[in-house]
């Protein structure tokens, strides 16, 4: 070997592989957005009737809001009878399957939240509830994670997808009965899995604790629930696939593969198992929850505002870059660990490259919301989803920085990482799911949300609660990391320093749990069609809504664009 090489051979190979694959990726994206195509012919906003462009949908068309009606014209007039029929058929076909999934998801949200708050308190009151094995921190925390990941988040994601896909494809959902069977199998399996963890049966790897014998049924249940989406895709009426369909469709291909490969028993060994573990762990986030969350945000933001998404090219870039870069970041969980340097380095670099898709999504959403930012005040859906999208950007940028060795050496192994994980799964994904459910449920049950104050209370409790949670744990985790790196301090100092912040987390967490209880009670009230049939739930009802731009101005802008 050359005694003083410019670059060592492993680095060279990695550099070449990285460059070639990134180049390939951009050529692939370019081929779709350019090359063979023809931008004039795009159906991008032909299907927007000119009257609808620039109108907000969710809260704005309240029958009682005359000023708004005058400004906007009757909404009904802007939709053709055929389009209304499509919507009716689509919604009717998906109503019950989507409801089954959403109902299950909110039940798991309560179970998962209860386990979470008890686990959180246990970290600063370690002698609380220690008499039964299933209540010990290590098990309760795992019950929390599995209930939230496979119960709440996955079920809510599938429910929202089941409702969105028929609408996006203007095609009734094909094969709804598979959903019922799938949901049943999934839930029996998940209940067995969570019970098994409580009893101490575990496969031992984070995110993959449920015994593999039970995982078989999760795979079967998941496949059955995903099947109707593909059947619908094959029978679709529209030609153009909207960006949300890419995200959701791809997620439904990725997750079963990930979950199946990761749970093959007796195949992985030693540290290689750790590489696989975090390949799965981060891909569950990157290739399952994130695409579904973004798919929903890409639908509801323009939907509620009545404006098309700013740029197709940005959507395209964001989607494929997310898929490519996000799927290779798992190794950043093993920085400094006994795994090959090239693998960890690749994951660090891809984590930083994640800035591209995040930036693309952020710009696309921001330009779409445009001057209508005040709509966030009024629409429950938009309020949650816009907050969720903003926190997505925050979580992703934080993730890119956290992957750098110089930052990771402090934050690795600390509560900082826990705060970051919740910024992604809660701040982003869960918020988007809340917003989506607020939009979907009135369509499913044909009833308005009975109590706007409950939506408001839910929003403020979870937002303030999560802010306390995140800021507290981030500071605590950082101090913990610094104390741990300072060998002149005893280890216990790195524990003591976190205590006030762990308590803050419990306080914030209690707010969040309270918010969830209000949300779930409200969910049951609307499901039972409680109260009298009311006007749409507005967070600030019956006010002059100043945020709507003059419809004509907006329409002109869009035509020019």
């Amino acid at each position: 070997m050359n005694p003083s090489p410019m670059i060592d051979s492993t680095s060279l190979v990695l550099l070449l592989a990285f460059s070639v694959s990134v180049l390939g990726l951009f050529v692939f994206i370019w081929s779709m957005s350019n090359g063979f195509f023809n931008t004039k012919e795009s159906g991008s906003h032909i299907i927007f009737e000119k009257d609808e462009i620039g109108l907000v949908e969710d809260p704005a068309t309240s029958q009682s809001s005359h000023e708004l009606q005058d400004a906007a014209g009757k909404t009904d007039a802007s939709l053709s009878a055929a389009e209304l029929d499509d919507r009716l058929i689509a919604d009717k076909s998906s109503a019950i399957p989507a409801f089954v999934c959403l109902l299950a998801s909110v039940c798991w949200l309560i179970i998962g939240s209860a386990a979470a708050i008890v686990s959180s308190i246990k970290l600063h009151n370690p002698d609380w509830l220690v008499d039964s094995a299933w209540m010990t921190f290590g098990r309760l925390r795992t019950i929390h994670l599995n209930s939230i990941i496979y119960g709440w988040a996955s079920m809510a994601g599938i429910g929202v997808s089941l409702w969105l896909i028929p609408r996006l494809l203007k095609t009734p959902l094909v094969g709804a009965k598979f959903v019922y069977w799938g949901a049943m199998i999934w839930h029996v399996a998940l209940m067995c899995g969570v019970t098994a963890i409580g009893l101490g049966y575990t496969d031992g790897m984070e995110w993959l604790e449920m015994p593999w014998e039970i995982d078989i049924f999760i795979v079967i249940g998941g496949a059955l629930m995903g099947l109707p989406l593909f059947l619908t895709l094959m029978n679709r009426k529209v030609d153009h696939l909207y960006v949300s369909v890419w995200y959701i469709g791809a997620a439904l291909i990725w997750f079963p593969i990930l979950f199946f490969v990761a749970n093959i028993p007796h195949l992985y060994f030693g540290v290689q198992g750790a590489a696989m573990n975090w390949w799965y762990g981060h891909n569950a986030l990157g290739l399952w929850f994130t695409p579904i969350g973004l798919g929903a945000a890409y639908y509801f933001i323009p939907k509620v505002l009545g404006r098309p998404i700013y740029s197709y090219n940005l959507s395209l870039l964001g989607f494929w870059c997310l898929a490519f870069f996000y799927s290779q970041v798992g190794g950043h969980h093993l920085i400094g660990g006994p795994l090959p340097t090239w693998m960890v380095t690749l994951s660090i670099v891809q984590s930083v490259m994640m800035i591209i898709p995040v930036f693309a999504v952020a710009v696309n959403h921001h330009m779409t919301v445009g001057g209508n930012f005040k709509a966030v005040l009024h629409s429950p859906t938009l309020r949650f989803i816009v907050l969720g999208s903003m926190l997505y950007v925050a979580a992703s940028i934080q993730g890119s920085l956290e992957a750098l060795r110089s930052v990771n050496v402090i934050t690795h192994f600390t509560h900082y990482t826990v705060a970051h994980a919740h910024l992604g799964m809660y701040g982003f994904f869960t918020m988007v799911m809340f917003g989506s459910i607020y939009f979907i449920m009135p369509r499913i049950v044909g009833w308005e949300w009975p109590h706007p104050w409950m939506i408001s209370a839910h929003f403020w409790l979870v937002s303030v609660g999560f802010a306390i949670y995140f800021i507290g744990l981030t500071i605590g985790g950082w101090l913990q990391g610094l104390a741990m790196l300072d060998a002149s301090k005893p280890f216990i100092d790195s524990v003591t320093v976190t205590l006030p912040y762990l308590k803050a987390r419990s306080v914030g967490g209690s707010f969040m749990v309270l918010g969830h209880i209000i949300f779930v009670v409200h969910f049951f009230l609307i499901s039972l069609r409680y109260g009298s049939k009311k006007e749409p739930a507005l967070l600030i009802p019956k006010v002059n809504i100043p945020f709507i731009k003059d419809a004509k101005v907006a329409a002109k802008e869009l035509k020019r664009g």
Binding site: S21, S33, F36, F37, N38, E41, S42, P126, D127, V130, A133, T136, F137, G138, R139, R141, T142, Y201, D203, M205, E206, M234, H240, W246, G249, A250, I253, L258, H266, L267, F269, G270, V271, Q272, G273, A274, N277, W279, W320, A323, S327, H333, G336, G337, P338, L339, P340, M343, S347, V409, H412, F413, T414, M484, L485, D486, A487, F491, I492, V495
Partner: protein, 212 residues
């Protein structure tokens, strides 16, 4: 419509992406690390230690304890705290399910057996961590112990406690699970020099049977 994604492009693209991802993070490490052999100084887990490892997994110890000291040049405190030298792939040759961990709410345990070989300490610490380590936030595990009224029976593994934590007339006796767990913890010792581990693994071309 030309220029738009259709479902074939979507499915094929999605599959290629997950294949690349698996190649980089699952298949390549598998191929590179498959041949690693266990160092001579590292012994396979005995039956009792393996059972203890199951208890460790079942109680979720891994969520607060890592098993992967970092390099002194990268994170010097790890070695200075006595957590041991930077670990290498061969050190985990007998770990069918890895327990590297991602949190250090408690200290790294890869070499806990070398730095804390006392069974008495481990048992008492599991029964009530704060008896031996004031300020600890580790959960107590009283369910791993039996409270026996009166004196201990022959064969009992008795746990000694400081006066503040003693209950009058009660003897605390460890269950088999507790003893197995402590046996596992005591077996955690990768303090042998790496020279042996890596040099041996490189000079042998016999493929390691990793999935025993």
């Amino acid at each position: 419509m030309a220029g738009h994604i259709d479902e074939k492009k979507l499915v094929i693209g999605a599959l290629v992406i997950i294949a690349v991802s698996s190649l980089a993070l699952v298949i390549m490490p598998y191929v590179q690390l498959k041949h690693i052999e266990a160092p001579a100084a590292l012994k396979p887990y005995t039956d009792v230690q393996a059972k203890g490892r199951q208890v460790y997994m079942s109680l979720g110890c891994v969520y607060c304890h890592s098993q992967q000291p970092r390099d002194p040049k990268f994170a010097p405190a790890d070695e200075k705290r006595g957590w041991g030298r930077a670990s290498t792939a061969a050190d985990y040759a007998y770990d069918q399910v890895h327990l590297l961990g991602t949190m250090r709410t408690g200290p790294d345990l890869l070499n806990i057996g070398a730095r804390q070989p006392s069974q008495d300490w481990h048992l008492g610490h599991l029964y009530q961590p704060r008896a031996y380590m004031p300020g600890s936030i580790m959960p107590a595990f009283p369910f791993l112990f039996i409270e026996r009224k009166g004196a201990a029976k022959p064969g009992d593994v008795v746990v000694n406690l400081p006066p503040d934590y003693k209950k009058p007339g009660i003897t605390i006796v460890a269950t088999t699970d507790a003893v197995n767990l402590v046996e596992y913890l005591k077996s955690l010792d990768r303090t042998y020099p790496i020279k042996k581990t890596i040099a041996e693994s490189l000079t042998t071309d016999k493929p390691a049977a990793a999935a025993k």
